[in-house]
């Protein structure tokens, strides 16, 4: 066979693909394989010029991580890339069933803009719930999670029960691993319902916004004390978790924190509240001006800088607690670290390329309409069906995956097509949100230079890499990943 002409070598050879950011006298470099390294700026200049010699103390590390052109271990690096981007080989893993729009709470930020308890035509029928489960089981993903949400899903117990039983029976037939999860405010929980959930291996998650005064200020409940109900059932499920019985696995309950303007400055009390109630994870999620929250943003919202300050103070405090032996970790950081430190896909649909809209998650509205995600559904609730991808009764799985909204979200959340992201040092770990861009900046693509969500991620990544640079910090943060 005729030999091909050898490729011409430009001399000196610069580094292969790399992304970088200057931080004072240091430079952070990353690459698409997910590797990162901190360099002194003078060493970065040598690397960029292709003149960082083999004797340089950083050479071996940089060569191992795929930053030296002549030392690329293609197979090893490709394996890293595949592991970090494993989601590209599967379909939607998260299936959110909105069992009802009704809720007995009136939370200040409620993105689901819930209807009152007495509202009509706001519940998913038993038949639609079963059809939704059947639809979810068609996903090309071998391991799916079906999450029951609302409104308050316990207000539609019959549909919840039917969906759980259908999913358990259907999983065997479909040969799928199916996890079931309930997100509830617990105010309508009873012993009987709790036992059904536990015995059918449904994990439970509730909202906990901090100590009673803060929680109850965010989460208005005319039927009593929202915080007290939450804590009561949190304890119940923790007890059941501690006392496992044969026949089924009981999961540890978890809680979700929503940071409103009222939370800012109260990070210690919030984290202490989580520790006090035995929760080992706290997910410090920013509020997004989407759907209903957009309308009251002036009252409850904040800017990227304010949230970043809150987030950094929280991380710092959690670190301090960890050093003193308290077990608690921040979930967003843990998921990002899973990518940064272990090059593994943590299944975080909101920070990946392309994002998980439709191809990573689907939201099933009470009436069977399908949306790219719950955030897309909220835009639909405001009367704009840009993110509607079909209907569970009318459309086939393949049609939904090929819908215009699915494709538009995949294209617009592709970081390789986003001018700022394509060159950003955080690209290997980050993701953009078409729904946020659409709601805040008027297009699915958005403009990252002026995008608050991007600013927020920059703040979070900046904090994580700064902590990873500290010798003690790295050891603690590595423990958070892959737990």
């Amino acid at each position: 066979m005729a030999q091909k002409n050898p490729a011409k070598r430009t001399s000196p050879a610069g580094p292969p693909q790399l992304l970088w950011r200057r931080e004072g006298a240091d430079c952070l470099v990353t690459n698409d394989f997910g590797h990162y390294a901190w360099l002194k700026c003078k060493d970065f200049n040598l690397l960029a010029a292709g003149s960082l010699g083999e004797k340089h103390p950083k050479y071996a590390e940089l060569a191992d991580k795929g930053f030296v052109r002549d030392r690329l271990d293609f197979e090893g690096l490709a394996a890293k890339w595949r592991s970090k981007n494993a989601y590209l080989g599967t379909g939607p893993g998260l299936h959110i069933l909105v069992l009802t729009l009704r809720c007995n709470h009136k939370c200040l930020y409620c993105q689901s803009a819930a209807a009152g308890v007495g509202a009509r035509n706001a519940d998913m029928s038993v038949e639609t719930a079963r059809k939704s489960v059947d639809f979810a089981l068609q996903s090309s993903n071998p391991a799916i999670t079906i999450e029951f949400q609302g409104g308050e899903p316990l207000l539609n117990w019959e549909a919840l029960k039917a969906a759980v039983l259908r999913a358990r029976a259907g999983a065997k037939k479909a040969g799928k691993q199916v996890s079931l999860a309930l997100v509830s405010n617990f105010s309508l929980m009873t012993e009987e319902k709790a036992s059904f959930l536990v015995e059918n291996e449904v994990s439970v998650c509730t909202s906990l916004d901090g100590p009673a005064d803060l929680h109850n200020r965010n989460r208005l409940f005319s039927g009593g004390n929202s915080h007290a109900a939450t804590i009561k059932w949190l304890k119940y499920f923790q007890e059941r978790y501690k006392h496992q019985v044969p026949g089924y696995r009981t999961f540890k309950p978890s809680a979700l924190l929503t940071v409103s303007r009222y939370s800012l400055g109260r990070h210690k009390e919030i984290i202490d509240e989580y520790v006090k109630h035995g929760l080992e994870d706290i997910f410090i999620r920013p509020l997004a001006p989407i759907g209903y929250a957009k309308k009251c943003w002036g009252q409850i919202g904040y800017g990227a800088a304010e949230f970043t300050k809150f987030y950094l103070a929280s991380l710092d405090y959690i670190h301090k607690l960890n050093r003193n032996g308290t077990v608690i970790r921040e979930k967003m950081a843990a998921m990002m670290l899973e990518k940064i430190v272990n090059s593994r896909d943590p299944g975080y649909v909101d920070a990946r390329c392309p994002c998980g809209a439709a191809i990573g998650q689907i939201a099933y509205n009470y009436n069977g309409d399908l949306y790219t995600c719950d955030e897309g559904r909220m835009v639909g609730w405001e009367g704009d069906d840009t993110f509607r991808i079909g209907n569970v009764r009318a459309d086939s799985y393949r049609k939904v995956m090929a819908s215009a909204a699915t494709r538009a979200c995949v294209l617009s959340s592709n970081l390789e097509s986003q001018p700022d992201c394509a060159r950003c040092v955080y690209k290997p770990y980050c993701g953009v949100c078409p729904v946020y861009n659409y709601e805040v900046q008027g297009s699915l693509w958005g403009d990252m230079a002026a995008n608050d969500r991007c600013g927020l991620f920059k703040g979070i990544f900046g904090a994580l890499f700064a902590l990873l640079k500290k010798p003690g910090g790295e050891a603690i943060l590595k423990k958070w990943a892959g737990k």
Binding site: P354, M401, N414, E416, Q418, P419, Q441, A449
Partner: protein, 99 residues
């Protein structure tokens, strides 16, 4: 009191902005102003009518620049971007793409 709807016009430098970038920006701004893009003297003439309160032509030009950067990037990156998007969509639909 309702702020009066305003009209503006400007000329975009064709060395920086393509007509496509300006049209894409016009689409993004369609809820804030009626934008008209026409060939003009020394560049592309952009005029704004029925501008909503708070509208600023500078914001429109930022969006046009964003769109232009995206178009320029697509020329360079479209292969990698296309591969990722295709893989994601085919996998989600349950189809395997041969490498």
């Amino acid at each position: 009191m309702k702020e009066e709807k305003k009209e503006f016009s400007l000329t975009a430098d064709p060395r920086v902005y393509s007509a496509e970038a300006l049209r894409l920006a016009a689409f993004v701004f369609s809820d804030r102003a009626e934008v008209c893009v026409k060939p003009g003297k020394g560049g592309l003439a952009v005029s704004f009518a029925s501008a909503a309160p708070g509208f600023h032509p500078g914001d429109f030009m930022n969006e046009a620049l964003n769109q232009q950067c995206r178009l320029d990037l697509a020329k360079k990156n479209s292969k990698a971007a296309g591969m990722i998007a295709t893989k994601a969509l085919l996998s989600a639909a349950g189809e395997k793409k041969k490498a």
